[in-house]
């Protein structure tokens, strides 16, 4: 504790974590980011968060509803809408080309060129994020016409088909509409759209929450496969900690606008330091392991019931 808690405000992490990140190359750095909702009284949704995302890693952002994880993601991507406002802090994108981009000061064409091209996003509730009245072809094409105006029609069609094939959807579905696709397929199309411009960072906000376990597993496998091939970094946001522990390289646990613990998945699972992380870890029963203290016939049942209400 004494070695890790060098600053009073920073998240808890272990020496293993420091060793893990030492040789990694950063792709996105957030420093002291604070985001407020300008309502009366103002709500500080993200409070002095510093976070570094490394090239090709999966960073899990865990926390419960209202902890600020989606707001933070929107802040990283400059998608905040009033009344949300970035009060202070800096976000720097380290381009693969070598130049650094100050994300906070971007505006106009520079912002348009940055968004989706460098950092793309798979939105929460992706089941309903596709436009219901235009075809998949038009929606994928839209990204390409906006960001790659030099592309010809045939080239766009070829790229769209390639993207669908990449995410495991039959390219024959290009002319389908959202309602003709299953939930899993819609989610895959959303991922294809986020991948259209070969971004270096993809932010995924609860990408599998509304899906069944079996479909969910297929999508996760696809994300992992694409990550191996294209080496993009992923910020994976969810409240499903078991899932995060399984797929992420590192995990940031967020509570009330702050990151309370930041560590490798292994360390979080084996040696969580923050009481809140431990509480989250204890709030789901293990599928195949021993029955824990929360087992329904146990003595501690009522304590657990009371604590959680």
């Amino acid at each position: 504790m004494t070695a890790t808690a060098t600053t009073t405000t920073g998240p808890l992490s272990s020496p293993t974590h420091a060793a893990h990140v030492a040789h990694l190359e950063p792709v996105l750095t957030a420093r002291h980011v604070s985001i407020e909702y300008e309502v009366d009284p103002p709500v500080r949704a993200v409070d002095d968060v510093s976070l570094t995302l490394h090239r090709g890693e999966i960073l899990g952002l865990a926390g419960e509803s209202g902890c600020g994880k989606t707001t933070l993601a929107y802040g990283l991507n400059r998608l905040l809408k009033p009344p949300a406002i970035l009060r202070s802090g800096e976000v720097t994108f380290h381009d693969a080309g070598g130049s650094d981009i100050d994300v906070v000061s971007l505006s106009g064409d520079a912002l348009r060129a940055f968004r989706w091209d460098k950092v793309s996003m798979v939105f929460q509730g992706a089941m309903n994020s596709l436009n219901p009245v235009i075809s998949v072809r038009k929606q994928l094409g839209d990204v390409l016409t906006t960001h790659r105006p030099q592309m010809g029609k045939a080239e766009r069609a070829a790229r769209s088909a390639e993207l669908l094939a990449l995410v495991g959807v039959d390219p024959g579905r290009l002319d389908s509409f959202a309602h003709e696709l299953s939930g899993g397929m819609r989610q895959r199309v959303m991922i294809a759209m986020a991948m259209a411009l070969n971004p270096q960072v993809m932010i995924m906000d609860e990408p599998t929450t509304a899906l069944d376990v079996v479909v969910q597993r297929g999508i996760l496998r696809e994300i992992m496969r694409l990550r191996e091939r294209f080496n993009f970094a992923v910020v994976f946001i969810t409240h499903d900690l078991p899932l995060l522990l399984e797929i992420s390289d590192r995990i940031a646990v967020m509570r009330a606008g702050r990151i309370v613990e930041l560590d490798t998945s292994e360390s979080v699972y084996a040696r969580a330091q923050h009481p809140y992380t431990r509480q989250l870890l204890n709030s789901f029963p293990s599928l195949t392991g021993d029955r824990g203290s929360f087992v329904r016939t146990g003595v501690s049942t009522d304590a657990a019931e009371g604590e959680a209400s």
Binding site: F284, P285, S286, L287, R296, T301
Partner: protein, 275 residues
């Protein structure tokens, strides 16, 4: 002899695609017996028919064929026989944000079933409401009775929904995904509440879920449904630790298991290396 039994339940829906008509068998020959003080978990993915089973038990859908028996008696179709069934078998729905009326107080939500089912009236209503709130751990009851749904958290709302189901004097609860809309840290609290009611008040619970881990820990028996059929059933530890059917194995392999971190990455790398 006290039990809720479903026998050879079948539900077919007519589906139309253009001019063609066909039937979709959503539930195919499902039978089980729910006893007081026991929890049965019905697991499966969307479209497996588990919610259709719940709707038939709660009389929101009529079975195409098959029977539902309460204490050995077929349930009445109308009138007093049906309302007697409804006193005893109640539902808890998935979404506590949608299942409570935002205009009304908690007391209103609980008084209505108490009055309609003839459990309490007049002066007796307030103590009955307080008793229900205490049973679901919303204490002190005076504080919660006057609240409206928006003043409570998801977990508290779901407790109100459970209290409402208990109000008519239910002996059997059909809980359709009762915690999947709630944050992980409050899920266990609600499940523990159901477990306590089951234990202390001898309630029979049909727990419908796609979460295998809580199904294992909170039920005595698990039924696995796939495309309308029950493909596997047995004591919960047997089904989870020693699955027999291919589909159960697929479901289990798909469930996240935190102790296996890095597993998926290695699998994917091996696959890519092989191709």
């Amino acid at each position: 002899m006290s039990s809720l039994e479903v026998r050879n339940l079948v539900k077919e829906f007519t589906v139309r695609s253009g001019v063609r008509r066909g039937t979709l068998r959503a539930v195919n020959d499902v039978s089980f017996t729910l006893e007081p003080g026991k929890t049965i978990a019905l697991v499966g993915e969307s479209g497996s028919g588990k919610s259709t089973v719940a709707k038939m038990i709660s009389q929101l859908e009529t079975p195409t064929t098959g029977e539902i028996l309460l204490d050995g008696q077929p349930i009445g179709r109308r009138g007093r026989a049906l309302s007697s069934y409804r006193h005893q078998v109640q539902m808890v729905f998935q979404d506590p944000f949608a299942s409570l009326n935002p205009y009304h107080t908690v007391a209103h939500h609980l008084e209505r079933p108490l009055r309609i089912h003839g459990v309490a009236a007049g002066q007796a209503l307030e103590p009955a409401v307080h008793d229900l709130l205490e049973r679901v751990n919303l204490t002190p009851p005076e504080l919660y009775a006057v609240k409206r749904p928006h003043e409570m958290s998801g977990g508290q709302r779901q407790r109100v929904a459970i209290a409402r189901a208990l109000a008519p004097g239910a002996r059997f609860l059909v809980a359709d995904e009762p915690v999947s809309m709630l944050d992980v840290s409050i899920r266990l609290g609600v499940l523990n509440l159901l477990a306590r009611l089951q234990r202390e008040e001898n309630l029979g619970v049909l727990y419908i879920t796609h979460d295998l881990a809580t199904a294992r820990h909170f039920s005595d028996e698990i039924l696995v449904m796939y495309r309308g059929d029950i493909v596997e059933r047995g004591p919960s530890d047997d089904v989870i630790l020693n699955p027999q059917h291919e589909y159960t194995k697929t479901l289990l392999a798909a469930a996240p298991e935190p102790s296996r971190h890095g597993r998926l990455r290695e699998e994917v790398r091996a696959e890519l290396a092989a191709s």
